[in-house]
Amino acid sequence: MTIEAPRDERALRVVGKSLPRVEAAAKVTGSIAYADDIVLPGMLFCKLLRSRHPYARVLSIDTRAARAVPGVVAVLTGHDLPVNYGIMPTCEDEHALEHEKVRFVGDPVAAVAAVDEETAQAGCRAISVEYEPLEAVESIEQALVPPDDEPLHDYAGPANVHRLAALEFGDVDAGFARAAHVREDIFFFEGNTHLPMEQHSATAQVAGDKVTLWSSTQDPHYVHRALAKVLGLPMGKLRVVAAPHGGGFGGKCDPFSHEIVVCKVAMMTGRPVKCTLTREEVFYTHRGRHPVLMWVRTGVDADGRILAMHFRSALDGGAYGSYGPASTLYTGALQTTTYAIPAYRFEGARVFTNKAPCGPKRGHGTPQPRFALEVHLDKLAADVGLDPVELRRRNFVKPFSRTVNWLRITSCGLEEVTNRVLEASGYARRERRRGHGMGFAVSSYMCGAGLPIYWNKMPHSECVVNVGRGGVTLYCGATDIGQGSDSVLATVAAEELGLWPGDIRLVTGDTGLTPVDLGSYSSRVTFMAGNAAREAAAKMRALLVGVVADEEGCAPQEVEVRDGKVGRMTFEEAATLAEEHLGVLSAHGTYTPPEGIGGRYKGAGVGPSPAYSYSAATVDLDADPGSGEIRVNKVWLAHDIGRSINEMAARGQVEGGVYMGLGEALMEAQAYRDGLHRQPSMLDYKSLTFLEMPEVETILVETHDPEGPYGAKEVGQGPLLPVIPAVVSAVHDALGVWIDEVPVTPDKIVRALDARAKGKEARYGPKRFPDIPYPDLVKVVPPDAATAAL
């Protein structure tokens, strides 16, 4: 069967409209059942006993007293779950319960299941663990020194280094040699966490020889794999269901201890088991933004055109691998998707420290270098006497081009987002008054990673559309984590079938019922699952149209599918007729990213994407010259979304991204003191409240990407990125001091002002970048300039 060519886009009836999200009413009225709302008959409650030491050997665990607590049904230690796992095949360094070594305060060592939470907690308190404390590694610098005790992991090294990368594209030294001006800067981005409204929760149930897990996870497929490995069960005996989500932001992308433990307890006891984390435990479970120290050196010619760039990063990874190898490479991958850098060198390192493991958070690995890069360019512009916007413009990448590190750029609205945001905010005419400032920055982000996390040749996303008397049901492994992917899928299907999104029944994120989708990370769902859904629904449409055309005696092209009708028939009549003729009505669609969107060198797997979104932000703020306190007045954000599938939902994502970006820029810090999280509570971990949240003016720019569904690109992550450097730039505009360390807090500003008053550098930030034993550079020949244009 052939699929019709995409219809004239002007005729789109549902795509692009501002419609309430499909789950909005259920969320607002509270009828939606999040993972923690699941209650099953005879259910047990589970709590994890966590390490109180940053780093220690576990000598013995005595669980006898816990087993004697009335109401305790099961007690588990690492001996019950000895198989290691981890999200990335190269660093499967976790155990559901650690029985040899604990590596951070919060590392789970034992689990107790009981008739209620209080009893489970009492059981945990009754467990005695004998530890031999080891010297904790608390900083990047310390992790680079060979430890007196042993490194955190056997595979670490040198010292506690987890991962090193060193890549060079083009002749960087020659570029610097030709440069009219070269500048170096050092930056630090403190770690921060996702802070979802919903704490993680998982419930498992056993029926016969099958185990079902409901969890607040972003990628049931990867959890499914980890469970099969650790529990030693065939995948077919396991079903993982992503429950309706109360926020992910990357914090629910790894397989977690509590998910594995509840399955194991259910298998041991035959009873359903739930484990819901406390807010404090969520801070320990983390996998959030890495603290990153960065050094950047750029050479420009007399016109401000970049000739060469050298970027170094050092990531404080915390105690486990998580997505670390990818996070490391991401700190170097996307500098080139906004600026045409003819020669580029990247050296990255991730180290293990005795802190909660870091991983992916909205923008995964790219907000830190984006902050450094944009602020660095502001300073470079000042050095060479150019307006910072002009310097950027001179270096913007071109649409449909290839970057020096082999990334394929297709649609690119960089010029337009820049123009629109500058115009709307009046940046060039901004008011000059003491303490008032505006800042500008741009960024870009992926629409899904080009490669899966483990090597496999399955499509990245698959959809099935079934039609019957139950109406239209769409099955897809994608998971709505609050980003609105369910609405995207329903809208796409509705568009193709002439219905409304509310007419589509969705079955998503369920490894037992839905075909695979890799998960909600790397902003992949609209692009990938959206394309798969479009293919499936278009095929279904063709089936219905064919049958109706025969019945009505006309050509298929003459059958209109709109407003709940197929030709002259109602959708229901058409469906019944089609079923009479064809039997089961089922159609499927898949999506796999195209070949050749990235390079072929080691490390080339990180960065390629079928398309890139582009964002630009201006931030207007007042900074008090006496106290350093900041009031953000307004943020303008223009985003090249390709095309919005649901405009209201897209605007919501932009506002959410700005909110999160401002929180990171101004307050949020997953900071440690003596090996201990400084503030694992919602009151003490500062994030913006409504009061600090300024007005956001969202400008959606549509570049109609040739490969996105209806031209759509991502909006879930990209808009966060330019906000952070724009805040730093605005503070400089207001007070004349550079705060080269995020978050930009009032005490840092006052320190910089005091330094300036004493005649020292008007800056607050890191002063040195450590010596890191980077390996020899992998020299990659850049794409030939002649073939660069596609």
Binding site: E280, M667, K686
Partner: protein
């Protein structure tokens, strides 16, 4: 989630009976008013009362009325919302209503009481954590341990007095009526309710209950309260200054300055304000040209010895204490806060 440990809840018929119950159950019992401070702390194991004596239902504690001499009496059970929106109190004692309006968030002010706010626990980020966290850190002398984590050489706890309304009440010359067992009542100045010890921060007997706060008639006193915190919608003070000025036209006849969140009790540093007495507060002084206010503030903030046990850098908190004093003086003098920014 964090679970509330089991406890017995008693519902006395009167304040007098409440005090008797406290005496009867000794140190196993505590009173609870709005519970906004106590309940989260029980969940974190910072307080482990076996018996809670409820005050929330006692209507006798919930009245605001004028006293014979022209002052006002605010029942301990009056919520912060009610106190902060009382017009009469606001007109006479702006520092007090301002402070009450700046406590935490609207939801908490609807429940939290002014009595609870006067008795609110001192704060320290080595202490305001779950029992698991504190165990990992090592317990400190305020609860379950024997040394101070932030100042290991200190013989006493240095947790931070964090009530917003206490400094205002002191600057306004307020008193409280305490009810002890057997209906015994005594009136003490608000200042005498506190002592400089983060662990034993209240100078009253454990079985005494605050019945009401009395504020004397304002006379020539004008007042203001300035609070420094990270987020205006929720956070505890990082520094706070209450200032009352007795004004005869532009001339200062009396000055009281009281600081909060700079030590383990509210500090009355009115002596620093002596320099203002007899001075006119108009142009030069208020714009800070002659450095007068800056000098007063520097003197006032000398008692502030912030430690690394709260939000933001302690040096900044000390600097902001001085700014808060200047701003509070300017506001109390009836000038716009914008002027203070120049000081």
């Amino acid at each position: 989630m964090l679970r509330l440990p089991p406890f017995r809840f008693l519902r006395p018929g009167s304040v007098d009976e409440a005090a008797d119950l406290l005496a009867e159950h000794g140190d196993r019992a505590m009173v609870v008013a709005g519970g906004t401070d106590l309940v989260p702390k029980m969940k974190r194991g910072q307080m482990e009362p076996e018996v809670l004596v409820g005050l929330g239902h006692l209507t006798e504690l919930r009245a605001v009325h004028a006293t014979d001499g022209g002052g006002v009496e605010i029942g301990a059970g009056v919520t912060l919302t009610a106190a902060s929106s009382d017009r009469r109190v606001g007109a006479d004692h702006p520092a007090y209503t301002r402070a009450a309006a700046l406590v935490s968030s609207p939801a908490l002010r609807n429940v939290g009481t002014i009595g609870g706010n006067l008795c609110v626990d001192t704060r320290c980020n080595y202490y305001d954590m779950s029992v698991e966290w504190r165990e990992a850190c090592g317990f400190c002398m305020k609860k379950d341990g024997d040394i101070c984590r932030v100042a290991p050489a200190s013989k006493h706890c240095r947790a931070i007095a964090s009530s917003d309304t206490a400094p205002a009440a002191i600057a306004l010359g307020g008193t409280v009526v305490l009810v002890g067992p057997g209906g015994h009542r005594r009136e003490v100045s608000v200042s005498d309710l506190y002592q400089d010890d983060g662990q034993f921060y209240l100078a009253k007997a454990p079985d005494e209950i605050v019945e009401c706060l009395r504020l004397p008639p304002p006379g020539a006193w004008r007042s203001s309260y300035v609070k420094v915190r990270r987020r205006g919608a929720i956070d505890f003070p990082l520094a706070g200054a209450a200032v009352a000025l007795a004004m005869a036209g532009p001339v200062v006849e009396g000055c009281r300055i009281v600081l909060t969140a700079v030590g383990s009790r509210p500090f009355d540093v009115s002596a620093a304000g002596e320099a203002l007495v007899g001075r006119e507060l108009t142009g030069r002084e208020l714009t800070g040209e002659d450095g007068l206010l800056a000098d007063v503030a520097a003197e006032a903030a000398k008692v502030a010895k912030p430690l690394d046990n709260a939000d933001l850098h302690y040096v900044w908190r000390k600097q902001m204490t001085r700014r808060a004093v200047v701003q509070a003086i300017v506001e109390a003098a009836g000038h716009s806060p914008a002027l203070a920014a120049l000081a």
